[in-house]
């Protein structure tokens, strides 16, 4: 059985970031992406955020919410409570921009190690686990939606 394909926007994003072979160019691109971060609106969640939305193993204290859309997809929202969590903010923007609105089956199949393709292999284990946990949380939201339909 073949796994569902990567969501189209994520695939396009990865193809683009793969072209940035120079480490500093890639880092600069990821910093600029982080600058687009917009926190979860109060209409979705207010502080104190509930633990069930907290990303495990993420020292940047990231939170994830999934809001169902009428078309059967989800909109993903994030909060990153650690002001120094710039990689977490960058990944949050990437996940929102490439997975919100994507078919849930494809979102549920995004591999956690996509973070290495985005950030490179020089992440510490702690950092990579935190970022992979963010992907895992988004996957889980898509899986919950799919289970609810079954």
């Amino acid at each position: 059985m073949t796994s569902p394909a990567l969501p189209e926007k994520l695939e396009r994003f990865l193809e683009g970031i793969d072209l940035l072979e120079d480490r500093s160019e890639r880092i600069q691109a990821l910093i600029e992406i982080a600058e687009r971060f917009r926190e979860v609106p109060e209409t979705v969640a207010k502080r104190p955020f509930r633990d069930e939305h907290k990303v495990p193993a993420c020292e940047s204290q990231a939170y994830v919410w999934a809001v169902p859309r009428p078309d059967g997809t989800q909109k993903f929202w994030f909060a990153v409570e650690n002001p120094q969590g710039i990689s977490a903010r960058s990944l949050a923007v990437i996940l929102d921009e490439t997975l919100s609105g994507a078919p849930p089956a494809n979102v549920a199949a995004v591999p956690g190690d996509v973070v290495y393709r985005i950030f490179g292999n020089e992440l510490s284990m702690g950092k990579s686990m935190g970022l992979m946990s963010m992907v895992s949380m988004v996957q889980n939201e898509a899986k919950k939606l799919l289970r609810g339909r079954a």
Partner: protein, 289 residues
């Protein structure tokens, strides 16, 4: 509560710590090099203390092939690149309450660069105080830096030392989280705990998570009395003890090594950088849960 002055906190060697005020006043000192060392590779390029250079723990401090730190030539090249001479005062700071800064500090001590300090509170405190930051990456004239051979004998422990330490029932400090210490699995099902095949801790090790040494609000170190309450009253360590600290790869334990060595004045503290990624993968070594 504002942080008390470093000199009033009762440290044995307060000269290894400098305040953010002190760094701000010395930014243009030509005999000073401010060095940022982080876990998050995006932080320094996004903004940093004006004039600070970056030392990256993976690219700059580790051997690219085998598991070890850079050698004499690599350290000389690093110091030349950041424009530091043997008599340059290096001030390290970084994210994670200076966890990576103390790691770099520890490696600098393997090469005897004793003219090194840590900025109390690190990047967190500097940012919280609204001090200036820049994206400009400075360039300094390269120096001729003559380093001694790396000395692994005094502050670094290897697995055989640790085995002997266990057998002699000498004090070991496990600075990882309580969940790592107990061997409880983490949340990533496809990954073994901490990159090791076995979970748990080295027999006899006390659990003293590294972060207990800092004030979480501003990342500054706790006072000597507060630190003694943790390491000595609560855990029974003594300044004359021969102590080995470890974590996963030796980064967090370098923070505890710094605290015990400089802030509390312990005479013999070694960092076991093989740590749990070595111990938890070795065949036949004892493990406690």
């Amino acid at each position: 509560m504002s942080t008390s002055a470093i000199e009033s906190r009762g440290y044995k060697r307060p000269e290894v710590l400098v305040s953010t005020d002190w760094v701000a006043d010395h930014l243009k000192d030509p005999k000073l090099r401010v060095v940022e060392s982080n876990e998050d590779p995006l932080l320094y390029p996004s903004k940093h203390v004006p004039g600070a250079v970056e030392v990256d723990w993976t690219r700059d401090l580790n051997d690219p092939v085998r598991r070890d730190y850079l050698q004499k030539k690599g350290f000389e090249a690093l110091m030349s690149r950041i424009g530091a001479a043997r008599d340059t005062t290096v001030v390290l700071y970084g994210d994670k309450n200076n966890w990576w800064a103390t790691y770099a500090f520890w490696i600098f001590q393997l090469f005897g660069h004793t003219n090194a300090k840590v900025m109390d509170g690190g990047r967190l405190k500097w940012e919280k105080e609204g001090r200036p930051m820049t994206k400009d990456v400075p360039k300094y004239p390269a120096t001729q830096y003559a380093a001694p051979e790396r000395d692994d004998t005094k502050i670094r422990a290897f697995r055989d030392h640790v085995l002997a330490h266990v057998q002699a029932k000498r004090p070991l400090v496990d600075v990882r989280s309580p969940q790592e210490y107990s061997g409880e699995r983490l949340h990533m099902p496809e990954y073994p705990n901490e990159g090791a095949l076995r979970g748990g801790h080295i027999p006899g090790a006390q659990s003293i998570p590294w972060g207990r040494a800092v004030n979480p609000d501003d990342g500054t170190f706790k006072t000597a009395d507060e630190l003694r309450a943790i390491y000595e009253k609560e855990k029974g360590l003594k300044p004359a003890d021969d102590v080995i600290a470890y974590c996963r790869i030796g980064e967090r334990s370098s923070h505890t090594w710094f605290v015990l060595t400089y802030l509390l004045g312990y005479g013999k503290v070694r960092n076991y950088d093989g740590s749990w990624t070595e111990w938890g993968n070795m065949v036949g070594v004892p493990i406690e849960k």
